[in-house]
Symmetry: C2
Subunit: 208 residues, 2 copies
């Protein structure tokens, strides 16, 4: 059983309930506004319209609730990426999909980026979160590597390295660029994105 499974074992039994979903949503909003350290079970219970006891029953600790928020966001991000890449017929299609995903992340969903980094800093001091975050990152990389391998099998793409390494570089590049563009909002992202695409093209090409 992976660390994410272990952490999520209790909530997963009941998470489909409307209340559990409201709790996760309220935590997401609270962290964006107050940060993880400032988000207490009291705040979240009030904003989700549930009792503090119910929150404890579902999630036990704040760390588990945070992991659950990020797990859901990652699932949504993975599903979005998969849908974008599904219809890629050329290397350019594939890369365009990745660039679109990056731009949506920076412009539309910067809370997710902040939350990921908040969880990362917490993971440096908490083994349970570290294990869960490692699983989430590995899962996301694994999904992208799978998409890449499929497209290679279909003869749509040629890869410059093994799918897993290519996926690792593409995700690192996306993470690093998202961080940079959010940190330097006055920077025109276009020349950097163009250069990043040129670099990524070494790893993803049309078949010979």
């Amino acid at each position: 059983m992976s660390a994410t499974d272990a952490i999520a074992a209790e909530p997963q039994r009941t998470l489909e309930s409307d209340k559990a979903r409201r709790i996760v949503d309220a935590m997401r909003v609270s962290v964006a506004v107050r940060g993880a350290a400032g988000s207490t079970f009291d705040h979240v219970a009030r904003e989700a319209g549930v009792s503090r006891g119910l929150l404890h029953y579902y999630f036990g600790t704040k760390e588990r609730l945070l992991v659950e928020v990020v797990r859901r966001d990652c699932d949504i991000r993975i599903a979005g990426l998969a849908a974008q890449l599904q219809d890629a017929h050329t290397a350019d299609d594939f890369i365009d999909g990745l660039v679109r995903g990056l731009s949506e992340l920076v412009e539309g969903d910067s809370d997710l980026v902040t939350l990921m980094y908040e969880l990362f800093t917490l993971s440096r001091r908490n083994d349970e979160i570290a294990g869960a975050l490692a699983d989430l990152c590995q899962k996301m990389r694994g999904h992208l590597a799978e998409s890449l391998a499929e497209k290679r099998e279909e003869g749509v793409l040629r890869l410059g390295a093994e799918p897993d390494a290519v996926a690792g570089v593409l995700l690192a590049l996306a993470d690093g660029l998202a961080l940079r563009f959010l940190t330097e909002p006055k920077l025109d992202p276009r020349p950097t994105v163009t250069a990043a695409v040129a670099a990524a093209r070494t790893l993803i090409a049309d078949p010979a």
Copy 2:
């Protein structure tokens, strides 16, 4: 006057003192152990062996002290990078220097990475920190872009894009890879680094 200058205007007058340096060092250690939220002026004053009042006198707020810690670390990282790149005679030398810098960051100085991300999450809720962090990131990118431009002038390197865009991609890649390797400590970094180097080589080549 940039935001970093504004934030650092008061402390910079006195920061050369041994006590101020001890405060910054104590804050660095405290954040690594307790996180930024858990690091109070009381902790840091005690561990630096100074009065709480002196800490206030030098830095005013915890946010300013955090920025000062990261500013110092960035200066050290910039100086290290500059020294490594100084003697590069080929594109491979240059890239080897960058890879060495990344590996030192992940293996030897992961606290700096954590601190940068902690500051990033704080910057999302605090305009003063956001301004200072933007200045720090821009400064680091500017220094790397300058090194690249110099090497291009000397005929050592050919660049695949403007120096500033190349620097942005290289730093994003390094940030993203550092995050990934720290998050997934069981992942063998070598295949991903090899693929990243192949991608970076599109942007940095030997002269034709």
